[in-house]
């Protein structure tokens, strides 16, 4: 039996929708510190049931492996660490207005969980002993890379001609991660359609 609470996509939508709402409120200057951080922390809680639902979904689809379980656990760690690091960096910048080394430190801080994410991806591919799952993840990675290249090119030209605002480089990883999620979703759907034929 399936209901939204068991769907990782539903939890991802809660998280993504929450972040979009916060971005919109920020854009309209309708929210101030510390309520934006409170909302970020609140919506980030959706990552925990999302990870659990992803594990359950993978197990029910016959795609669970020890390496995938470790990867999902690491994904939860970096996601939560990213929210915390970003919160600390933004709060420090807004309240202390640091200069020099401290500014460098808080500017680098949110990058560290993202580097951990890249390492976790590499570890998964190295640790996965199931060659089909490894190939599937590599394929999802290629879908993600294709999406990132497409979006970057499209946005880059729109930006060059002054049609859209500047996009920061750090947006690359979220776009790639969305592509990875979409890739996995497409491949999971294909697997489910063919299951036990």
């Amino acid at each position: 039996m399936s209901y939204p609470g068991r769907s990782p996509v539903a939890w991802a939508a809660v998280f993504g929708g929450g972040m979009a709402l916060i971005a919109w409120l920020e854009y309209r200057d309708a929210i101030v510190m510390p309520w934006n951080l409170v909302l970020v922390a609140l919506f980030s809680c959706a990552l925990i049931p999302m990870a659990r639902a992803a594990n359950n979904r993978a197990a029910s689809c016959g795609v669970m492996s020890p390496a995938l379980r470790a990867y999902n656990r690491r994904s939860l760690h970096w996601s939560l660490a990213y929210v915390v690091a970003l919160g600390i960096a933004v709060t420090t910048r807004n309240n202390l207005h640091p200069q020099g080394p401290l500014l460098w430190l808080i500017a680098v801080l949110p990058s560290l969980p993202i580097l951990y994410f890249i390492w976790a991806m590499a570890r998964y591919l190295a640790e996965e002993t199931d060659e089909y799952l490894r190939q599937r993840q590599a394929l999802a990675g290629m879908i993600a890379t294709g999406l990132l290249l497409g979006v970057a090119t499209f946005w880059g030209f729109l930006e060059t001609f002054g049609l859209v605002p500047h996009a920061f480089g750090w947006a690359a990883v979220p776009v790639w991660a969305i592509g990875l999620g979409l890739g996995n979703l497409l491949l999971s759907r294909r697997d489910r359609q063919d299951a036990d034929r």
Partner: protein
């Protein structure tokens, strides 16, 4: 590449999950190989053939 995995499995009364556990791979891997969506590596193909006590060419067939 075609294969006789489904027939061989049925002859032994094994589900995809049973075969997956014997091969120490995911059920989805067995399904992908069985439906011809994924061609296994040579080491895995040999493991499958060994499990059924057959030669590799008796399990995997040319298109």
């Amino acid at each position: 590449m075609n294969n006789r995995l489904k027939v061989l499995r049925a002859e032994r009364g094994w589900s995809q999950q049973d075969l997956a556990e014997r091969l120490e791979v995911s059920r989805q891997s067995v399904n992908a190989i069985e439906t011809g969506k994924y061609d296994p590596s040579l080491p895995l193909a040999f493991r499958i053939a060994d499990l059924f006590e057959l030669a590799i060419e008796q399990v995997f067939l040319r298109d």
